[in-house]
């Protein structure tokens, strides 16, 4: 993508009096040499794939390792029994985030956003918002452009790979993307979009990638929940006109530097953290005997 900084997108949007999402769409049109309609419809396809994946959640499935499966249904039951600590919106977000990540671990079809490991965050927030507030579909597609634009800047100026930058680069990026999308859907302005991004990202800085047995399961699935909830929390702060004291692009640069400082043993290599706990080692042994 042509943009390395969020403030660049905002200033181009303001100069041309166009919305944030349109700037991202136009950039995609130039990059891939496609029409605006084509670009928009490709994004709509991503939304539909997310909706389908959400609908086709199967609570009976378990991952190849057996570590993951069925938790989405537990959260759903809990919510339907009226026991939720949160309101409907947040409860549904939690549920959808687990469901999507479980589907991923069980080799179902999902949309990487930005990665497969973090695929639950953005759809959980978007699809719950759609159900609660009955937003027209085109608005959701535009929100996806906002999210994708933020993700592109993160990929350009930092990283969206756990192996490269730790989990802040995966769940952190997904959360930042979703936070911006929520602000857009709520009618927030461009400054609020990028400040929500910064706030969400700051809460995730330094997060390591230490999955058990090298599988996208533990802690990944449940971490999608906190990424999704964090997105809404930060969107609400931004909508209430709270700003990130550190400007958004400086936060992104911090994330890049922190990613470089995270030792290799905590970047998807299984050498430290949760991955070497006695329980994790036992699981690895059991898996190798399977």
């Amino acid at each position: 993508m042509g943009y390395k900084y969020l403030h660049e997108i905002v200033s181009v949007a303001e100069k041309n009096d166009k919305p944030f999402w349109k700037i991202i769409l136009e950039d995609d049109c130039t990059e891939r040499n496609v029409s605006e309609v084509e670009s928009f419809e490709t994004m709509r396809g991503m939304l539909h794939a997310m909706q389908e994946a959400d609908m086709h959640y199967d609570p009976t499935l378990h991952s190849a390792s057996g570590l993951v499966g069925g938790d989405g249904a537990k959260l759903e039951r809990f919510r339907l029994e009226g026991k939720s600590l949160f309101g409907e919106f947040m409860s549904q977000i939690m549920e959808k985030a687990v469901k999507m990540s479980e589907s991923n671990a069980c080799m179902k079809r999902i949309v990487a956003a930005p990665t497969a490991g973090s695929c639950g965050v953005l759809p959980a927030v978007l699809l719950s918002y759609e159900e609660q507030k009955q937003l027209p579909e085109d608005e959701l597609v535009k929100a996806l452009f906002v999210a994708a634009g933020i993700g592109s800047v993160l990929a350009e100026s930092s990283s969206i790979s756990g192996a490269e930058g730790g989990c802040q680069a995966e769940i952190g990026s997904a959360s930042a993307m979703a936070a911006g999308a929520v602000v857009y859907m709520e009618g927030g302005d461009n400054e609020q979009i990028i400040h929500a991004t910064a706030l969400a990202l700051k809460n995730m800085l330094g997060l390591t990638c230490d999955p058990v047995a090298g599988l996208v399961e533990v802690p990944c699935v449940k971490r999608n929940v906190s990424g999704a909830v964090n997105a809404v929390v930060c969107a609400q702060m931004a909508l209430a006109h709270i700003k990130s004291a550190i400007p958004p692009d400086e936060v992104i640069d911090s994330m890049r530097r922190i990613g470089k400082q995270i030792p290799a043993c905590l970047r998807e290599t299984g050498g430290e953290g949760l991955a070497i706990t006695p329980t994790a080692q036992r699981i690895v042994k059991e898996l190798s005997e399977k």
């Binding site: 993508m1 991202i24 950039d27 995609d28 990059e31 891939r32 670009s39 490709t42 994004m43 396809g45 991503m46 794939a49 991952s63 190849a64 390792s65 589907s103 991923n104 671990a105 069980c106 080799m107 179902k108 079809r109 999902i110 949309v111 990487a112 956003a113 930005p114 990665t115 497969a116 490991g117 695929c119 953005l122 996806l144 999210a147 994708a148 634009g149 993700g151 592109s152 990929a155 350009e156 969206i160 790979s161 192996a163 490269e164 047995a213 090298g214 599988l215 996208v216 399961e217 299984g270 898996l287 399977k290």
Partner: protein
């Protein structure tokens, strides 16, 4: 990275590198073979070997070899499908030197008896690199129509190929040359903006000093 590499791809989980990337390596290998594969020896290396089971890397590679793409919901059942089609499969460990941690070596036999050996790497985010073909360096992504020509290292072959491409109005996006040693085996890898007509590829294969021509077409057959 394009916008839909960030929001996307639509893929079967759990891992973009260990699953989606693996399907893509298999798929590109199948396209390079240019015919149905009847026998495949699938050797894994590094992290592919260590965590491949839980990520379905083997299922993914086989799915790709069957012609499936990363979003195909039949990927988890690829082994059964291969069995139904009577494809001979075997698995093992790849012995590679200084390879990327997510690598696989595929020894393939096609319907007509054609043999092909591929070393593929999954670089993350379902981006792949075909590192070797038949033991010689290649290094291409499979995102372009790609022509791979193995020839004797002697003057004139490059000109033959590029003038053929010019004649067919095919624009070269990227080109690489490798050789084992002076006067030995050489390979050119040419990534193109347009498809090369089948006839031109056959013509090339019959030229003196050209040992093997492999072509990756992106057109759906």
């Amino acid at each position: 990275m394009g916008l839909f590499d960030i929001l996307g791809p639509v893929m079967v989980g759990p891992s973009s590198s260990h699953t989606a990337g693996a399907v893509k390596i298999g798929y590109v290998s199948r396209r390079l073979m240019g015919e149905e594969i009847v026998e495949a020896k699938i050797l894994l290396y590094g992290s592919f070997l260590a965590t491949g089971k839980g990520h379905g890397t083997q299922l993914a590679l086989v799915a790709g070899l069957l012609g499936m793409k990363p979003d195909d919901e039949r990927i988890p059942h690829s082994l059964e499908i291969a069995k139904e089609r009577g494809i001979k499969l075997s698995f093992g460990e790849a012995i590679l030197k200084e390879a990327h941690p997510n690598s696989t070596q595929l020894l393939l036999v096609g319907k007509s008896g054609r043999k092909l050996e591929i070393v593929g790497e999954s670089l993350g985010g379902s981006i792949i690199n075909i590192a070797q073909i038949d033991g010689l360096s290649a290094n291409f992504s499979g995102d372009y129509a790609t022509l791979i020509v193995h020839n004797h290292d002697q003057p004139g072959h490059l000109a033959e190929v590029t003038s053929m491409l010019a004649h067919k109005s095919v624009n070269i996006a990227k080109m690489q040359l490798y050789r084992s040693n002076r006067g030995g085996n050489a390979v050119m890898v040419i990534e193109c903006d347009q498809e090369i007509p089948q006839g031109a590829i056959q013509w090339l294969a019959h030229l003196e000093g050209i040992e093997k021509v492999t072509y990756l077409s992106l057109e759906e057959s």
